[in-house]
Symmetry: C2
Subunit: 312 residues, 2 copies
Amino acid sequence: MTVATCDAIRELILAYQEFNPPNVNELEEQPSALEFMRYVAQNRPFVVRKGAAGWKACKEWDIPYLLSIMKDQKVQVAKTPFGNADAPLMTGDGMIFVKPFEEHEAFAQVLAALQAREQGTLLPHVKDPVCYAQTQNDNLRNEYGNLFADVPASVPFARIALQKEPDAINFWMGNSHSTTALHRDPYENIYVQVLGRKHFVLLPPVEAPCVNESDLPAATYAPVGCPAQCKQGGEGLDLLLEPKLDEPSSSVPFATWDPDLPDVRPTRFSHLSRPYRVTLDPGDMLYLPALWYHKVKQSCSEQGICVAVNYW
Amino acid sequence: MTVATCDAIRELILAYQEFNPPNVNELEEQPSALEFMRYVAQNRPFVVRKGAAGWKACKEWDIPYLLSIMKDQKVQVAKTPFGNADAPLMTGDGMIFVKPFEEHEAFAQVLAALQAREQGTLLPHVKDPVCYAQTQNDNLRNEYGNLFADVPASVPFARIALQKEPDAINFWMGNSHSTTALHRDPYENIYVQVLGRKHFVLLPPVEAPCVNESDLPAATYAPVGCPAQCKQGGEGLDLLLEPKLDEPSSSVPFATWDPDLPDVRPTRFSHLSRPYRVTLDPGDMLYLPALWYHKVKQSCSEQGICVAVNYW
């Protein structure tokens, strides 16, 4: 990279920061389609505090209700040793990108595992995987279809502005042990917190040179020293997971810089980054524009779970 | 520039072309504010055919009317030898950026010079400058204020969507000898043709690597061999203009590639450019998004002038 190119990139990042507010706009009610489109045009996020507080999901969902609707329904669950699904992992052989071990289990079993781990009724040790129901394949209209009636079929301001129905509506259920690594999606995203709190760290697209995107060998967690049948879904609580490189081999371009550990693997631009931080409480709604980097941590409700819904 | 950077730029240009229509959208009526905002969000131009046909300007403006309103009003006029105001010029010492010689003359005098040159009643020779009333300093609310009542004070869909009044409203009057060189502006632009036709060549911002932007020494046309008083505005028809480098010296970053002469001064990316071409007839309205490159030629009405209005 030439000096002139570096200077140009630095100036672009600093100019963006100079001409934009340093925080995520907070609205008190859902915007009109036109107001929303202004945010889309500027590629700027906003939060609507209590914007979804009136949804049946936000008023009714709790553990007994979810169990009554979903108890024996098989759902897909991602399991990792450290809550690091779809994340970079440093190994003795260098950095890799690890996808979770995926199992299908009864909803009640997943919920119990999440609560137990969160509430410390198990002694945490390496054989307890961290579970996260985080499939992003329109699961709220499929596996979790019995809960779909509790949320709107679309977010009106977004449907009218973008002139389309949502591509996918997803249900997320995890606990505080799961972190979503810094990444970006090519979709406009409306994110609604239902139970627990989500802590977002956001970087605008112009800060792409800060995140140290690298091509990482792709791997997937798999059980170790485990009889074959445990791969078909065992108890889920006695599972030692280790990453195995995918075959055939492939690589994934992924951010390797973490805004919470700014001195680790920085690029020459990382120190310029000014991350936006925003926490969603139950009932809050976030518009996360396409191509914004986001890292997501969560803290749980008293019931020991975090639940959210998003629309793409 | 590394090979990887070149590949990335090429892919970006080709991806833009693949995912966007190859033409300027044509609307049959003015969009709503929300529809307009969708174009702004996508940074895409559109034409509203006959979108301004109902404006008093489009119905009433002709030479007698303009003369009756503006006859003795002094207006600023740009003069160049070849209709090349604010354009790159190749000289024996290399390429420079030349601004026009500016004079204040009575509107009737400017109009007569434009018509005469267009209709060939003068023998064209190098001493006949090409005139263009092209100040972009909100002139329709100042010098041309007597005509301002004939156009709307704002374009409603744009005012509502962007939540602001126009920064500037400009009146343009020239003839077919003037060409506006390929350049871009940091403003959202609504452009309305009133008399004559305008021929736009448009390049999306992603094609910036195609235009060979270079730092050019700034110069201004000045009269040669002319007594001092001619600088104060003489007849305007007997004026030999030559570029003089500005003092103190300065430079202007400017596109040096011309999509109509694609083999002259190309970059390694110019051959990838797919210019959009659109012609405005009287009453047509163009939305030219911020940062789109545009080159503009014009052809005249039977009355020998081209008149347009734009809102920034």
